[in-house]
Symmetry: D2
Subunit: 343 residues, 4 copies
């Protein structure tokens, strides 16, 4: 029931490294200045800022005799981490390890502004640059998928919080880049849970996601939600009618999704084409106030029949397109609650 | 005082995209299956999974006449996003935009296990693979820097929480890869704040960081802390003695940093060589119980004199190394509280 | 800007008490068993559980010679705290203080079940018994008011979280007792803030309140909200139209209040009769989807004219009732957006 | 596994009350002004503020013909709730229920300052006045007990957060009144859990408690902790040595309890006299840095032998005191790690 986080061996290894760095009388050299920072150090001394000078400078420091008496660790940047000594071609990390100095590495990618604050920052992990690039090339919206499992010890509070917080941070970055974020906190179909349990978990997840979006100052009117339909787990023998599933789904959203969100675009999850359409249709027919567009964001449920028609043969393209139009049309109708199964 | 999060124009743009996707009767095609997923769709239909087939398949779908009556958006994966039509060389995003279908893009990088849970996941952003690579190449520890500002409306709760949560997630990933994470929640020297305010913010930040590390099941005995020395802001005219600064620093750590953490390795922040050593020395002399090694993780404060001696000239290397040894030695002594300024 | 939490003198006093209790080689006697617990201790020894025996027993313990060499503190229950020695009539707390033993007191009121958990508990503060009593005597709903201030350093995260959490706990207790909780997180009119700032704070407060209600498993369909109208602070010279105020109010609720909440019953705050009605009317006329009943929960705004008519004279009762009917009727119409000022 | 929060019947009852109050075109009269507020309404009109006038005034309002067409609920204060009509002696709540107006009741007790903020408030529940009274009568410290259970679905995040937050609020109030708060987050011995699970839960609880104390600006140097000893559940057949229990306990505190806390005073929980002393002794002998006084706050473990000697007979007092001194002395020695079982 309670999974180990780290093996005992890994714990011992980590504690030994940490204690070795925290040797009384020793400290760390932070030699992880990237090229732009080095410039500000070299230029006042009239030292040219090129890669070899940077390499040589670090080699000079590392080879200071006796410095390992006072240095237990040295932090490197990415460039330096892959540099080697010029005489005997030893990678710096190995050189340091052999000197009894722990080599370290900076893994963050610099700072990035937190939207809605007085230019406060968080630490970059590369998402923003990709979003700017995609927007420049015509993207209008983006998608980030988080997955929540249901099980005897799942979902944990950590999984819910971590995923909600990541979705919110992603949404904030997207909006700053001009992309509408589709927020996808998928609750997995896998498991033995019943309908009620799926509903409760979905409510808990969505409540946490919308609190996180609020904390991150995300503009809700410029977002969309891509949730699961509330259904029992695939292993659950209990049977529910389509209407029960549709009602549980609508109740869960009424309790958690703000009215300001323009649309809820369901994911098909593991459901087949037929069920995906039937659920969407039934959801739109539930007799409760539903202040959002309730539509689809289907992958497999819009493509299985298409692939079957196409078979990878260009001559079948027309037939494949016909299937595709049929599927999109029937889900378009279902998103209005106007799909008739016999139609 | 209250910064705008998004400009009005940006809000209007985002709301229009979102509403356009949430058009009644329309939905989204999720066509963002990456190559491995496509395999599972193509192979049962005996369709070969190569890039041109993937490209052609998407083109076939996108060019389905009238499908834009039922599709308001299509989500692409990275590969497809940069594909073009074969006849007139139009990038897919442009094709879709011209059809009145919003092109979207998946930006997450798949799932990654959350340590300490029953194989629950969060969504990947690329850090884990880099950490595994660095460990394989000899790295023993890693560093991630977060920066907290002090100002009239700073730090916000968002900045504190977001940075603490990122540090904790980074620390968890590092430990799973066998790297000791150095946790660096730097409180910036910039500003007009006095010593007391810096102490209060430092306490608040550290309390939040250690709660986040606990939430993420980080093994504290295998971590190190790299904090700021508690000092007034650089613009603050008030003067404090080195002893007052050292005492405020120790009190702040006694209130927040668990005993299980082996070492606190100070960053030099904006302090010069002399002050960095003097502060560290004074901190180690404070007459209060301090159950950690209190040492240094200095960059500039271990290098300024070295650069001045070296001047980028290999002939000066010996002299530069002498300076470097002098600095490491005096900080080594300071980490024991044994540095004498006249020495 | 940063208020002292405790004066330096109070800090010194508290630290001295705490250190005195934490004297090496000394500990605490927990003598705070209330009568029911004492029963379980006395009865196996055939000791009668009456107040004098309880008093005598404690006196016997406290007067053990030399016990103050090993006891630094003794915790008392309410009854014992007010007992005295039988020979010289000294209150026990004074007796202990004079012996150099710190007297302590238990202040909680026992355990109470947390709704929605596996009979987990929180510690009682007396609310539940009052709620059961009120329900028994005919109450159908209850009200709890929290007040949030806007100012240069307000609202703090602490104030928002603490008040949201108290409202949620209150709502959970009410529902367990069969009372519908009216949740009142009032954002104060006092201050210089503009309309936008009030809206932002209101959104932040409501997002936090609804997250707390979700955490506490409160059944939203059985609650009502009593919020402020979103208005600029009373000291703010800027003028806004009634329509701007109404729109800001509706936008804030659309972003935060779940659809499942049946009604939002505004408080009049500092607004007079006329404005209270006009705002409510305008709010109901805003051309945005509003999936709740938007009505009033007014005090002063339904009574000022009534009191002026009544003047404390029974002969004026009929006239006073006429005023009261006029006010309730016009607000009833306003809650439908059907109030005409000239009417 | 997933307990019902409210029965279906209770849900229906609550939803009906809430919907009845949220009837379109109707609102609430807030007639819950307590005597001091009424003064400010009556006095400008020259109405005398006595209980009968308050009663009469409310009766006059409630009996306004047709007002129930526009009023769905009326909120009363405590005094009014127990008033009756003067002619036919009907309690006001019954009167209103019969008119089809839902009677409500204000249950909060006014506002109270949040320490460490710019005079922000939370809503009173009566604790502060009791603390002031106890301090005036000689109390120096106070105790508040929270109980955390371990079980298949326990502790829930709600139980941990709610109890941590209550302990922090209690501690803040105590300190404002000059009482040292003893913070007691007891992890129950009941259950089948093993030592490791108890340790993990204890760490999680303590991390949350100290984060809450930080959030509430509690002055740690003026607090004490009263935790459980980390032990397996009573139903757990696994056996551990006293040394293993002592080590797990110390490791848990080293990971969570700040150095600034002067003392950790263990509760005996369900342990008998002998074990309580043996555990405390062993804890003080663990070969790890322990920057606090580790002592006892025992009830039963200091009294069982005393009661057995006393038997409720004054003639046995001397013998009882001898037992009491023996127990306090051996625990005093154990708190120094100097207790020898054979002694």
């Amino acid at each position: 029931m309670s999974p180990h986080y780290l093996s005992r061996d890994r714990q011992v290894e980590l504690a030994q490294i940490a204690q070795s760095i925290a040797t009384p009388g020793k400290g760390i050299l932070a030699a992880d200045e990237h090229a732009a920072i080095i410039e500000s150090r070299f230029s006042p001394m009239d030292i040219q800022n090129n890669e070899e000078n940077r390499r040589y400078y670090r080699q000079m420091l590392f080879r200071t005799k006796e410095c390992s008496q006072y240095l237990s660790g040295i932090i490197l940047c990415h460039e330096t981490f892959y540099h080697k000594t010029d005489d005997d071609d030893i990678p710096f990390p190995r050189l340091l390890n052999e000197m009894g100095i722990m080599p370290g590495i900076t893994v963050d990618r610099g700072l990035i502004i937190l939207g809605g604050t007085d230019n406060e920052t968080t630490t970059q992990d590369g998402l923003e640059e990709r979003c700017r690039e995609y927007k420049k090339n015509g993207a209008q919206f983006a998608k980030w998928r988080a997955l929540i499992k249901i099980g005897p010890t799942c979902p944990s509070q950590l999984a819910i919080n971590e995923n909600a917080s990541k979705l919110a941070r992603y949404a904030s970055i997207c909006q700053q880049c001009g992309l509408v974020p589709i927020v996808e906190p998928e609750v997995s179909l896998e498991g033995d849970h019943d309908l009620e349990q799926c509903q409760r978990v979905t409510e808990q997840v969505l409540a946490t996601v919308y609190k996180a979006l609020s904390d991150h100052h995300v503009y809700l009117e410029g977002t969309l939600l891509k949730p699961n339909i509330v259904t029992p787990g695939v292993n659950c023998v209990k049977t529910y009618t389509i209407e029960q599933i549709a009602e549980a789904t609508v109740i869960a959203f009424r309790r958690t999704v703000p009215t300001a969100v323009p649309g809820i675009m369901f994911l098909s999850g593991g459901h087949n084409e037929e069920n995906s359409t039937a659920y969407l249709n039934a959801i739109n027919r539930v007799q409760l106030y539903k202040p959002w567009v309730l539509s689809f964001s289907y992958g497999r449920a819009l493509q299985t029949s298409v692939l079957r028609a196409w078979k990878g043969n260009k001559n079948n393209s027309e037939q494949a397109r016909k299937e595709f139009l049929r599927l999109t049309k029937q889900n378009g109708l279902a998103s209005l609650g106007q799909y008739e199964i016999s139609a």
